[in-house]
């Protein structure tokens, strides 16, 4: 192990401290403001509330139907994640293990969708959903299903690309041996490749979930009262009369906790997944 010079330690300490302040200030603001009475957040900024109160945490459920939005977000994000991961596994396996005509075209096309400005296809997509609804009776506009398939395609390109990298790193001998043993390609994928690729799959899942949990633009046009997600619902606190900043902060914290907790729990996989996959 090479010795670390003192100047490096000092720099490290300073830089990392500054970064930590920068990173965590908003989180502390959220926490401290969510415990304040309303007059505190309407006046001069203060770190310590003039009186601690948990009222904002009770009020947030009445000011807007937060519980319903929460449930919607949970259903939409979870379903989008599961579908996205499954579809990405299949696609990535094909790209990684087979040489077929159109392979490159597929990769390039899928990746290039990442650069489409959302605003370009928002209205057309909306119209397509409505027309599908009219033609088949499957309600996509205003329903969770519409939002789910929209969101899963948002994370799909990056997920496929990351998993291709990951699968490429898994020795081919493994699945070839299984094929020789008489396993079909699908069984090989599910029994041999997927278990080895768990870190990469978890990483992709976390990414897909966060993408779906945080999207604002499509949610604002494609949902109604019954299917509105948190991303849109949270803006309702800035209501006609006032901005209830303490409630906004409390609600922000409440909606952040599940994702942040999940993310931090799984971050080990995320680093591992990225290490083995995408960044090769």
């Amino acid at each position: 192990m090479p010795k670390i010079p003192t100047w490096f330690r000092v720099t490290r300490w300073i830089v990392l401290s500054l970064l930590m302040v920068f990173t965590l200030t908003p989180v502390l603001v959220m926490l401290s403001s969510s415990l304040k009475p309303l007059q505190d957040v309407q006046g001069q900024w203060r770190w310590i509330p003039s009186g601690f109160t948990l009222r904002p945490y009770l009020d947030i459920w009445h000011t807007v139907p937060l519980a319903r939005y929460f449930l919607n977000s949970l259903i939409v994000a979870t379903s989008a994640t599961v579908c996205s991961v499954v579809i990405a596994i299949f696609a990535a396996y094909a790209v990684s293990r087979y040489r077929f005509r159109g392979r490159r075209l597929f990769t390039v096309t899928v990746l290039s969708t990442q650069m489409f400005p959302g605003i370009l296809f928002l209205l057309p997509l909306f119209l397509i959903f409505v027309n599908i609804g009219n033609a088949t009776g499957i309600a996509l506009y205003g329903s969770r299903a519409g939002l789910i398939i929209t969101y899963l395609t948002f994370s799909l390109p990056f997920s496929i690309w990351m998993l291709v990298g990951y699968f490429d790193g898994i020795p081919r001998d493994l699945d070839e041996a299984a094929l020789v043993d008489g396993c079909g390609p699908l069984r090989t994928l599910l029994r041999i490749v997927v278990p080895v690729a768990i870190p990469g799959i978890v990483a992709v899942g976390v990414y897909a979930f966060m993408t779906a949990w945080g999207e604002v633009l499509f949610a604002s046009v494609m949902t109604n009262d019954d299917t509105r997600t948190l991303a849109v619902g949270l803006q309702s606190y800035a209501s006609q009369n006032d901005v209830y900043w303490n409630q906004v902060m409390a609600a922000s914290l409440v909606v952040s906790v599940p994702v942040v907790a999940g993310f931090l729990l799984l971050q080990r996989y995320l680093v591992a997944g990225l290490t083995a996959g995408a960044v090769k």
Binding site: L19, L120, P124, I128, G214, W245, F263, V271
Partner: protein
């Protein structure tokens, strides 16, 4: 014969769901969007948009006529977005690299710190950005309280959400949100560098700085190639951050192109010209991405 067909068909079958969904959600709508950009799709026609009159290149001509107000506003928005993207990608990369390199060697509390650094990336966009907008309030915000009341750095309380400073507010929030991603990717990238490279260099008498320059940075090149591109695309197309920070009418200094186009289509109800602007944006991104990949791949090839 049948088995052969199955073998050839299998990869396509596996790709089918992904392909179908990408077609449905991205490609077909995009083509429809391109068709719309040639139409005069104002509020008079949205009810029956297929019957809207064709505008030919009219929407494009208006968009790129930089002597007229609409074109000028678009150009301004484009330039704002370019400088915003350059700053955000640059700073995020710098912070991410610095943190990743500084945390390459184990020290007490490294795990906790790494976790904390990832929090901005994990927070939902709207929750995080709403918090920033609260911090940037003129009278009640934390930023002005610190700058003016506590540190006495400014003579008066500056505005952050309106006027010229809004640009810096936006950059700050965007960097805060995206540097952890850079950090994450680079941390992962660093783990692929064999330890013995450093040890060999240390034996040769190379200091920390030289090790970073001669081993770390070159080894990170493939990560950087992808990372910078992804950051560029995400930042350039970012809609959520300015939308939550400023609402539907962003100040001129922070009028990012995504918000500008949103306003051109949804707020002023001219979907034809909004689509034309989006298509121009898409063309620009295509050209930049292709050029970037061309240049970086060639350089990578030359180095390998």
């Amino acid at each position: 014969m049948k088995a052969r067909l199955r073998r050839v068909g299998l990869p396509y079958l596996l790709l089918l769901p992904a392909l179908a969904l990408e077609l449905l959600i991205h490609l077909v709508p995009m083509l429809v969007g391109i068709a719309m950009s040639f139409k005069q799709l104002t509020q008079f026609f949205i009810r029956n948009w297929s019957g809207a009159p064709w505008a030919g290149l009219g929407n494009y001509r208006t968009a790129v006529d930089f002597h007229a107000a609409v074109g000028q506003a678009l150009l301004n928005s484009f330039l704002v977005t370019c400088s915003f993207t350059l700053l955000v990608v640059g700073l995020s990369w710098l912070l991410g690299t610095a943190a990743a390199i500084l945390m390459q060697d184990a020290f007490r509390g490294r795990g906790v710190l790494r976790t904390l650094f990832l929090v901005p990336y994990a927070l939902p966009v709207y929750a995080a950005v709403i918090t920033w907008s609260f911090m940037f309030q003129h009278d009640t915000g934390l930023v002005n309280h610190m700058l003016h009341d506590q540190l006495h750095l400014t003579s008066g309380k500056p505005f952050w959400l309106i006027g010229g400073n809004s640009f810096y507010a936006l950059v700050t929030v965007a960097v805060w949100r995206s540097w952890p991603f850079a950090f994450l990717c680079l941390t992962a990238g660093l783990q692929n560098i064999p330890r013995d490279l450093y040890e060999a260099a240390a034996l040769d008498g190379a200091g920390v700085w030289q090790q970073i320059r001669r081993i770390t940075l070159p080894s990170l090149r493939p990560v950087n190639q992808v990372l910078v591109l992804v950051l560029f695309l995400w930042t350039f197309n970012d809609f959520n951050t300015p939308y939550v920070l400023f609402g539907r009418s962003a100040p001129e200094a922070a009028d990012l192109i995504s918000i500008h186009i949103y306003q051109a289509s949804f707020v002023t109800w001219n979907f034809g010209s909004g689509s034309a602007m989006s298509v121009l944006l898409l063309l620009f991104l295509l050209v930049v991405t292709a050029a970037y990949l061309f240049v970086t791949s060639r350089r990578r090839g030359a180095h390998a």
